[in-house]
């Protein structure tokens, strides 16, 4: 069975893909769907949802369109999730690969460095970093990348270590390929599937982290995001439930979609694992 056939038959994964495509579509087409800027005060504040056709999800404390805020918030959440994961991979993959492939002092050095980051709780470190840099979209993305690369490095290291003991690596050595070429051309491609699975879950974690930071008031004050919406709505939660409810639902849907996809990828890329699971 090919990868795609296996993935397609996984209902959960397909639901995840559909949801994620929907979220991406809303994010991309936000300016076409909503004429209003998400910060624009369009109606009286605290308009409940479904009370007006043009403002389906109601208005917030300043009379801004909640639906438009959600759509534009999707942009920030997805952007931060994707970019920070990419940056984390750019740090984690080379570091883990070098450590696993060369071993010895390189390995020791790289792993001690990684552990240094792993001993500090993720969220606490992210808060400190954002507070030092001043909250902007780029500093938040960077902070999330900095706290999420260590697991990548450890995963890649373990994979590379096991792959490099295989016979085809010895064969490549004998064929006279340089070590660097072997690592890049032969070893790394064989570690891709766990990295892909991990990356999909990391996007979900990054979205959660960004929302948590914004909720605490450490978001970019010039970017509309879901975490910001919930944080701002916290003080009025008793009188205006919809202000925190809808962005909460948006976060759940997106994170759930990414997790389902990650699971699906995992099963599809490791047929052995999934068959075992199927039998048990």
């Amino acid at each position: 069975m090919s990868f795609w056939t296996r993935f397609r038959t996984n209902i959960g994964a397909m639901v995840g893909v559909v949801l994620l495509i929907a979220v991406i579509a809303i994010a991309v087409f936000a300016p076409l769907i909503f004429a209003n800027d998400p910060w624009q005060m369009v109606q009286r504040p605290f308009l409940p949802p479904f009370s007006r056709e043009d403002l389906l999800l109601g208005t917030d404390t300043l009379g801004r369109d909640v639906a438009a805020q959600l759509a534009y918030g999707a942009r920030v959440s997805l952007l931060v999730g994707l970019v920070s994961t990419l940056v984390a991979l750019l740090i984690g993959v080379p570091l883990g690969a070098l450590a696993g492939f060369y071993g010895g002092l390189v390995d020791e050095g790289a792993m001690r460095f990684t552990e240094f980051f792993q001993t500090i709780p993720n969220f606490a470190l992210a808060i400190v970093l954002v507070a030092i840099f001043e909250p902007t979209l780029s500093s938040i993305t960077l902070a999330i990348a900095i706290v999420s690369w260590p697991p990548v490095a450890r995963l890649v290291r373990a994979e590379v270590m096991s792959v490099r003991k295989r016979e085809f690596v010895d064969a490549a050595m004998l064929a006279g390929l340089t070590k660097r070429r072997i690592l890049v051309r032969q070893v790394l491609p064989n570690t891709l599937s766990p990295i892909i699975v991990m990356a999909s879950l990391m996007v979900a974690t990054a979205i959660l982290l960004e929302s948590s930071l914004s909720f605490l008031g450490l978001g970019d004050p010039n970017a509309m995001s879901w975490g910001y919406m919930i944080g701002a709505a916290r003080t009025v939660i008793r009188s205006a439930w919809w202000l925190s409810f809808f962005p909460g639902v948006a976060i759940i849907i997106t994170v759930l979609a990414l997790n389902l996809i990650g699971e699906g990828l995992n099963d599809a890329l490791n047929p052995h694992l999934s068959r075992r699971k199927g039998r048990a």
Binding site: M41, T61, L62, P221, T235
Partner: protein, 515 residues
Amino acid sequence: MKHLKATTFLIAAALAAPLAAQQEGGRLDIVVQPEPPGLMLGLVQNGPTQLVAGDIYEGLLRYDTELQPMPGLAESWEISDDGLTYTFKLHEGVKWHDGEDFTADDVVFSASTFLPETHARLRASLAYVDSVTAPDPLTVVFKLKEPFGPFISVFEAATMPMIPQHIYEGTDFATNEANNTPIGTGPFQFEEWVKGSYIHLVKNEDYYIDGLPYLDEVYYRVIPDAASRAVAFETGEVDVLPGGSVENWDIKRLSEMEGVCSTTEGWEFFAPLAWMWLNNREGPTSDVRFRQAVMYAMDREFMRDVVWNGFGKVPTGPVSSKTNFYSDEVTIYDYDPEKAEALLEEMGYDGEPVRILPLPYGETWQRWAEAVRQNLSEVGIEVEIDSADVAGWNEKTSQWDYDMAFTYLYQYGDPALGVSRNYTADRIEKGSPWNNVEGYENPELDEKWFAAATMADTEAREQAYAEIQKEIVDDVPVAWMLELEFPTLYRCNVKDLVTTGIGVNDGPRNAWIEE
């Protein structure tokens, strides 16, 4: 001035006359937020300290909601016609909480030894004082070097609290152990302070006014979370929420509850005015046309209604309408985006972005900055919102690293005490976020500010301040946003809680509970 005194004395007498209906006894629970750093009013003057210590310490005078002086520890006073001599007759039979007699010597000690050393805000006013003397135990005479119009407004409890000489003389004031068990002359005395929980005050049985206070005890409750404070009030655990102790959005909901009354009175002495510092030194904000455009571009009424839930009043200029010598004969900046656009075009604004720094005091201020950004962007001004915590805000404003920055300050009843400090060039000094932070320089106006402060004649002062306001409003050194109102919420069976210009700060003195 003589007239003024006579009428106010009558009002005061009317207020003080005990009515038959007042009931004795009972306990009042008041929220204090945040927990005060100390209760020794001569050393600490921040808001929560004033709230609690206002029952323990007293000043020579009290002020009604029109800011007219009423008898406090002084039962009468006289100002000489040249405005240089202030003579106070003290109440007879006043005792400190430890039983010692309160005399004119205590006043002399407080005003010439203790407070000049510890009280920065009062020090500026005491600079006008030549001597303080006590010709007899019940008479105090302040002699001034030159007339200082606002002098009659400096005798409020937190501005010039009376300090017991027999406890503090010859000691190191800041480290004196008695600071933990404050001794004053007030209607309530200190009983216990459980840190993080409550401060307990009990009735001063020997209070010098017969029948006062009515209450047996007052608890100031420390509840760190705004939502929990609202719940504590709903469940009846506390009786009074002083202004600013719950979020704006909650005030409406709580005040609609049965048996809950609210008042916006009791802040007249402070008259908090909110504005945005506009950096007059550099960037687009250094152009007066840009600053005027900002004023026309903002829908301040809308912001008041939406961000502050309708509480407050849109100001006309630097002096709050509650402060003495307010004048509205100035240019009025109504919401007029077209005028703003025309001004921006005239100056040739090139779209250079400006930063707005909100005050880091919670959601309300953040929303306010967002509303301003929206209004400004509608007339073509590019705005970014900066962010900072309290320390960062202090740093950025006092080091002048901002384009527009929110703030609010108290006015203390008189322009010379709480307004001119933000506009005269001698108060341009890096390192403080409370002085002339915007860097506005107008030597001609400076002269007028100084002259107005040292006039003995009230009418002349009135005219001088009207002139100043007319001129300064055209220059827009800062963007005046709102006269803040902090409603006090309380159970309706608590009577006479807010009767003065400082509200709950000295409210328990006259308050009583109807069974």
